[in-house]
């Protein structure tokens, strides 16, 4: 399996914008294997914010193309993310490939796949694969959570700036003796003492 370009939701959205949001587009986004529902939710939020255009998710399950085509047309011009291909057998992929004309619509279709379902797709849906062409992207991880070392470093900066230890800060916060600067609220949360806010 070839390696694919890693792209953030913003970059994928920009590609859709450049093609035209009312142009028929097929893309595949390879989502992470772990924490998939969370990754899909984040992708949906960021894509929607990027293109400022309606985006919806459709759970495919094992729907036939005739069933799904109705859903794709209501409405027809938004951007749709199709997910739930984990249950697809090779036979269902082949049925989809044969009935691909029923899936055509003016708005973009994004197939949300995993590495495993991508292999099945490529092996059994060569014509839809042709629609997609080179538009297969691995979703780059947003990775915004501060690491433990970043949190520790930040706490050190705060202790240095305010010239007091975290324990001293907590003691003073509990007595209501601290200023209300935004950095104090951040410090308390970093220490897990949001109860003092």
């Amino acid at each position: 399996m070839a390696e694919f370009i890693s792209q953030a939701a913003f970059e994928i959205g920009r590609r859709l914008e450049l093609r035209g949001l009312d142009a028929e587009s097929w893309l595949i986004v390879i989502g992470p294997a772990e924490r998939e529902p969370e990754a899909l939710d984040t992708f949906l939020l960021e894509l929607g914010a990027t293109i400022d255009h309606p985006v919806r998710v459709i759970q495919i399950e094992d729907q036939s193309t005739s069933k799904i085509s109705q859903t794709l047309r209501e409405p027809a011009a938004d951007t749709v993310i199709l997910t739930g291909f984990g249950v697809f057998t090779p036979a269902i992929w082949r049925e989809w490939d044969l009935g691909r004309s029923r899936l055509e619509r003016p708005g973009a279709i994004i197939l949300w796949l995993t590495s495993a379902t991508l292999s099945e797709f490529c092996a059994n849906a060569p014509n839809i694969r042709g629609f997609v062409g080179g538009s297969i992207f691995r979703l780059s991880q947003s990775g915004s959570a501060m690491t433990d070392s970043e949190i520790s470093e930040r706490i050190r900066e705060l202790e240095s700036h305010y010239q007091m230890s975290s324990d001293q800060m907590i003691e003073r916060a509990a007595k209501g003796e601290l200023s209300a600067e935004p950095q104090i609220a951040e410090w308390l949360i970093l220490l897990g003492r949001g109860d003092l806010i």
């Binding site: 953030a8 939701a9 913003f10 959205g13 920009r14 939710d41 984040t42 939020l45 960021e46 914010a49 990027t50 780059s140 991880q141 947003s142 990775g143 915004s144 959570a145 501060m146 970043e150 949190i151 930040r154 900066e157 705060l158 700036h161 200023s179 209300a180 600067e181 935004p182 950095q183 104090i184 609220a185 951040e186 949360i189 970093l190 897990g192 949001g194 806010i197």
Partner: protein, 173 residues
């Protein structure tokens, strides 16, 4: 402290307090998504090379969260700042409380350090976590026009609205 001035400041501060309480933001993940996209768009439009994935950081605790770019205090350029044109740099921290599918503002700080000898050298928009005893010198929501010891009252804004002032009003000059 002039009595009437302090009374006027107290009244204004109560209005700022109400403004803060009235701002309702979407759930934390959505606020984060909007900020990530906003900064990505600015990056693109200004031809910058900030790695948004790397500099936009969060800390999430049960019903409280922080979204940051850059250090808590600007003491010089760092890799974690959002670098802007003409040598300016942006750092911010937003503290939110989440409940019932929405977020409310607890505090924020947005610091733009200007470059190239600009005056004032920086602007910082602060929303304090609570009111101060002397709101005439420290309103709950204020802007520092280049001095840490001067705080002028400022409307409480949503995070994107503050960034709009930074990118389209301050940095655009």
């Amino acid at each position: 402290m002039p009595e009437k001035a302090s009374e006027r400041a107290l009244y204004l501060d109560s209005k700022l307090e109400n403004q803060a309480a009235e701002i309702k933001l979407p759930r934390f993940k959505e606020v984060l998504a909007h900020l990530r996209v906003y900064l990505s768009k600015q990056n693109l439009e200004l031809g910058l090379e900030n790695n948004i994935q790397q500099i936009l950081k969060t800390v999430v605790k049960p019903n409280l969260g922080i979204i940051t770019v850059g250090p808590p205090f600007d003491k010089g350029p760092t890799e974690s700042h959002f670098k802007m044109p003409f040598g300016a740099r942006l750092s911010f921290g937003i503290t939110l409380r989440e409940g019932n599918g929405a977020c409310s503002l607890i505090a924020y700080r947005f610091h733009i350090q200007m470059g190239g000898g600009s005056k004032p050298a920086f602007y910082r928009f602060d929303l304090n976590e609570r009111r101060h005893d002397t709101p005439l010198v420290e309103p709950r929501c204020h802007v520092h026009p280049g001095r840490d010891d001067i705080r002028l009252p400022f409307p409480v804004l949503g995070p994107i609205e503050v960034l709009d002032r930074i990118f389209y009003v301050i940095a655009a000059r």
